[in-house]
Symmetry: C2
Amino acid sequence: MALIRSWVDSANRADCPFPLNNLPYGVFSVAGAAPRCGAAIGTMIVDLADAEACGLLDAGGAFAQPRLNEFMALGRGKWDAVRARLTALLAEDGHRDLPLAPMADATLHLPIRVTEYTDFYASRNHAFNVGALFRGPENALPPQWTHMPIGYNGRASSVVVSGTPIRRPMGQLKGENGPEWAPCRRLDLELELGAVVGADSTMGERVSVDQAEDMIFGYVLLNDWSARDVQAWEYQPLGPFQSKALGTTIGSWIVTQAALEPFRSPGANRVNPLLPYLAEKRPGLYDLTVGWSLNGQAMARTNYNVMYYSSAQQLAHHTSSGCPMRVGDLLGSGTISGPAPDQTGALLEMTGGGRNPVMVNGESRTFIQDGDEIALFAQAQGDGYRIGFGPCAGTILPAQP
Amino acid sequence: MALIRSWVDSANRADCPFPLNNLPYGVFSVAGAAPRCGAAIGTMIVDLADAEACGLLDAGGAFAQPRLNEFMALGRGKWDAVRARLTALLAEDGHRDLPLAPMADATLHLPIRVTEYTDFYASRNHAFNVGALFRGPENALPPQWTHMPIGYNGRASSVVVSGTPIRRPMGQLKGENGPEWAPCRRLDLELELGAVVGADSTMGERVSVDQAEDMIFGYVLLNDWSARDVQAWEYQPLGPFQSKALGTTIGSWIVTQAALEPFRSPGANRVNPLLPYLAEKRPGLYDLTVGWSLNGQAMARTNYNVMYYSSAQQLAHHTSSGCPMRVGDLLGSGTISGPAPDQTGALLEMTGGGRNPVMVNGESRTFIQDGDEIALFAQAQGDGYRIGFGPCAGTILPAQP
């Protein structure tokens, strides 16, 4: 697919993250107005609430809400119709009176009310690396790992939008004479993609991988901030809890499944066949370059297609017990890591558990220090255009003892 | 405290679960009317929405909602004021025109919109028994267990009200030649109390145990249905996931903290001092007899005061990382088990992992069979009155392969 040209000139540049091929959804506000839904185009935001008020779109008033949940709940038919209509309105011969706001003047808000948040563990490199550090190489990869997407329920209330400062947590840390109460000393990031669920499922009924695909509205960048020392002391046998509840940052823009369609990609090679309920008819991952930086220095770069399970497989597995899914559920992909240190999505892996410091702008780092800013990025490279996700960044505030 | 007599005669019987001392909140509907909030008194339900419409109560319209979240969000001052007002209206010299509906004619609904659900692991007997079965007696109790309330995030969407049938899940089970896809064969209950959080906390800020007490609106019975074979295969290293997502049943009535005040009780003896952030000024558990039955046969009975951590301690720990809590959050106490088999809150413990079947109405049981009904109960015995929780029951439907 080639670039679809728009009358919004800034959207036609080859390095623009938001060409007309992308059209990601978010929630924004400009001075004096209430937050409402928008779509990014070039350096501008389409004011979808105003566009509907002018009669240019029809979404039953959903875009006037300060979250996309109500729009998502209208269903895939409406998602497709609005995308087609916006594409026509923004095309070179489109409608130049469409209400636009400069992105530079806008405040971007959390794009969805996160209903529930689940985090998975789907990069084999990451699972092996972290497992080896926590349990030794012989117990690194759990025996079920190649048979099912392993995940745990996270804490939806701690999901925040890019730019929100994150406070270093206090916590129980293992000490020589019992636990101590101290600021986290091994604060880490996790480079992930988050799938946004846009449809409900019914309690007691399972969803196939194909049905799961249809339920996914789009994807955001996601940083699952992690307190590794809290995690090591707390996580057995019921999994991570407070080590993952200090905050999870997501990007402001939800890139739709439709925009990613040209970039479908198979994932990592299977080491054993999957049970039929996890079989997928077409590749469920995407050829997406992802990476992260610390205080502006690029630290790692890899591809989302290193993952072993797609979001659709994760969603299908999530319903395998009959667990109902709901509009606004967020599924973290798991940390995206390639095999090499400069392809890892967490400092824990990059530094071998803190044993091998890395240099950042001339300073040594093992884990994140107060004041450090972590920024994630993701992009798909098309033929003369690029699908970007916008920033997903956060700065660490000192602990409050 | 003695019985507070009411003009509703059925509330004055010594064996009534809902005397005026109790006044639990729920959501009910009667033929042709929308679900609204109510309070149980004897064999009747006070229609709180109608009572407010008649000018007898003031809750800003919150009682007309089909959930108690809006009322809880009004804060403890309003909880206290409404309780005092209802106590006066229902006292022997009270207001006999208060709108009442017979409980026998009412449908009882999920009393809250569950915002997020967290399940803990706070009975030392249960943690040891289950740990020994999953990991052997030498690794039974994790080293941090006596230092922190261990918990995991559960799935709020799968919480249902008493009486809702629960479908036996399918799942991945460990087989001799890799996993198989099969109906759960080791379906179990977990006898718990759930604390209902009635106030928000702020992200990045911790809540003390005292503040946590003030945030708890009340308690419900809670059965955390568990697929033990799914759990054994999936749970390491990130904790239980689909094994706990088939359904969690809660009772219809939220017994307020105010009603339980006379029954405060210390918990299990501490084996080591707690870190100061978990210290409590007064006993946070309650002297509550709890138990469960299978197809009407009483199976086990113990006391909530065997627990090692109170809900307030669990809530304080839940915020230790700065994790924000929200109105409608539900915190499961963890399975309540005494040391003897007939004091255990799960079949896994009672039958020694299925090795020692128990007899139920002349039939042998290790785990739950299709068609079985599990019912929990809880009550506090006062001076001539009783605080009951109402039923918390569910029947198992066959799996859908």
